[in-house]
């Protein structure tokens, strides 16, 4: 029982950043833009969050600055792909290369310096042997859950969400009835950048209390894959993210030793999230409605005839 609770708590912690980043990317993709720079924006968010936490000790300010860093990076992507119609795949890759390099440069003098992890927001309940499953987390875990609901509500129930979906499904029609496709996509891209930045900041603030080069270790790419897995639906994203959290938690327990899990080489455990991502993409492709949910304009630059 204790072990089950401990595992569940770790699962939620490990999946939270992936969930936050994936939610941002979901909104971006629903507007018809494919931003493959999530990993780079997460790393920028991680280093910004770390540096601010290190110097101010304020976790919330650190998360906010992580969001700002991710959003600033997403504006580079937005300018190139939306204003200059550059190739989205290549620009996203460039953003990831840039984020990896820039965060490594900015963090070079901060490696191996510890910071304090965020404390749970319900300190009394967080030590309860059972209730900590629900109340034992710091702010980002609840923020992620709230955003699942908020984004679902936004996309399904609000006018702005309808416009965003229209822009992603049929940009020319949306344009012809007077919506600014480029403007809507800029907002979506910036939102995605801010979410990726927060997600990245979660790594030093809630998981490992230090800066390490490339510390997001491909989680940004897993977030991109999860959006496909979830068929662009927020609640499915929730399930998918927790599933990945479970895979990653199993790795931690296997490494800690003991039990049948440790019979498998630790390298295989470390590779498992990536292999699982491929497996999940294969499974989802076997479903008949696999790609019918993809926004029709995904990845295509908006080019009204001129």
């Amino acid at each position: 029982m204790d072990l089950t609770i401990a595992i569940l708590v770790t699962v939620v912690g490990a999946s939270t950043p992936i969930l936050i980043a994936a939610l941002g990317e979901l909104v971006v993709e629903r507007s018809g833009v494919l931003n493959l720079g999530v990993e780079g924006m997460m790393l920028l968010g991680a280093i910004a969050g770390f540096v601010v936490q290190f110097h101010t000790g304020n976790h919330y300010l650190a998360l906010l600055c992580g969001a700002a860093a991710g959003m600033a990076a997403s504006l580079i992507f937005g300018f190139l792909t939306l204003s200059l119609s550059a190739n989205q795949t290549a620009t996203g890759l460039a953003l990831t290369i840039f984020g990896t390099g820039f965060s490594a440069l900015a963090g070079a003098s901060y490696s191996a310096r510890p910071v304090a992890l965020m404390s749970p927001i319900f300190p009394d309940l967080a030590t309860h042997p059972v209730l900590r499953v629900l109340f034992g987390y710091s702010f980002p875990a609840y923020f992620a859950l709230f955003m699942v609901f908020a984004i679902w509500f936004f996309l399904k129930k609000t006018r702005a969400g309808l416009i965003l979906r229209a822009v992603g499904e049929n940009d020319l029609s949306a344009h012809s009835i007077g919506y600014s496709v480029i403007q809507v996509r800029y907002f979506a891209v910036m939102f995605g950048g801010a979410m990726a930045g927060v997600a990245g900041a979660c790594f030093p603030l809630t998981l490992t209390p230090q800066w390490a080069e490339g510390m997001t270790a491909g989680r940004g790419w897993i977030a991109v894959a999860l959006v496909v897995f979830a068929s662009w639906r927020p609640f499915r994203l929730l399930g998918g993210a927790y599933l990945f959290g479970l895979v990653m938690t199993m790795e931690l327990y296997a490494k800690a030793g003991g039990g049948p899990l440790s019979a498998i080489p630790s390298e295989l455990w470390a590779a498992l999230p990536y292999i699982a991502t491929i497996a999940v993409l294969v499974l989802i492709s076997l479903r008949r409605d696999a790609s019918t949910n993809a926004p029709a304009c995904l990845g295509k630059p908006f080019m009204p005839s001129n």
Binding site: F98, L105, L268, A271
Partner: protein
Amino acid sequence: MMRFRLEKRPEPSKLMLYGTPVAAVVLTMILGCLLFSAIGYNGLRAVQEIFFTPLTNPYKWQDLGIKAAPLIIIGTGLSVAYRANVWNIGAEGQYIIGALAATSIALLTWGMSGWWILPLMAIAGMLGGMAYASIPAFLKTRLNVNEILTSLMLTYASVQLIYYLIRGPWKDPMGIGFPQSRLFSEAARLPNIIPGTIVHLGVPIAVIVALIAWFVMSKTVFGYRMRVVGAAPHAARYGGFSENKTIWLAMLVSGGLAGLAGMLEVAGPFQRMVPGFPTNYGFTAIIVAFLGRLNPLGVIVAGVVLAITFVGGQVAQTTIGLPDEATGIFQAMMLFLLLAGDILVRYRIRRISPEASAGAA
């Protein structure tokens, strides 16, 4: 106020197509100088050390050659794939698996001698890279799974495979506990082609590979097919070119060349498998392919340019204390600026006079 407007060109501009990569490199120097000055380094000196010292100092030329070789080989393969609109971004993984396949031959033949060992390693490297690239190719053609994500995920998995092999089955018995393979025997190491330098056989191979690819892509039916499928998939289908076959070809060529680069790297500079073997050549080669305009001849030039930034980055690290990571920033800026310039290939900027814009409104 002066206003500008983009106007579509009837034909993509040749001048802009080949001029924008040059402009991107020059602008990277200017912006890089400003950026590094802004964060407290001597920006001018940084640009000088990164972009010019490797060229002006003859002692650095051999480094340029051996850094450029893997970039050119992988970049050539990627340029073929990207031409066909197949987004293999897992070249790093195929490079690693190619190197592991070559290492397995080197370890199996350990202590033996014979001219056949190196060619066998090269074949194993290519087959390894092809086999690893065939996973995304299979998933893409059979199940329509996005090749970007699968090829990238396989890269992360391949790094773990290195760790597993050199900590376990391939661990050097003489390595006093270090996780690394044995040092290859003489027959499994690439010969130096210029005595007294570190320039190995991989350097001329890289140039030959790019030249062959250029010939195939511009002068043969195969090349025509790849270009048509990438540029006009619908027309290609009418022309009887199977899209799936093209995806397979693109993946096998890019994976095989990445595998070959991995073999050359492990048999050349490394001479054994170590945890630090993955050096991101597979990712940097993406920039090389784009900077070279997906043209194998351009890839040779772009490979040298990126090699300059690597070698120059090391120079700047020792002379002015610029962190190693600065190189990556210069490389990413180059790609950003190149992509930004792409619009000038298809569009031209027209100035709109105030009267005309007032009239239009």
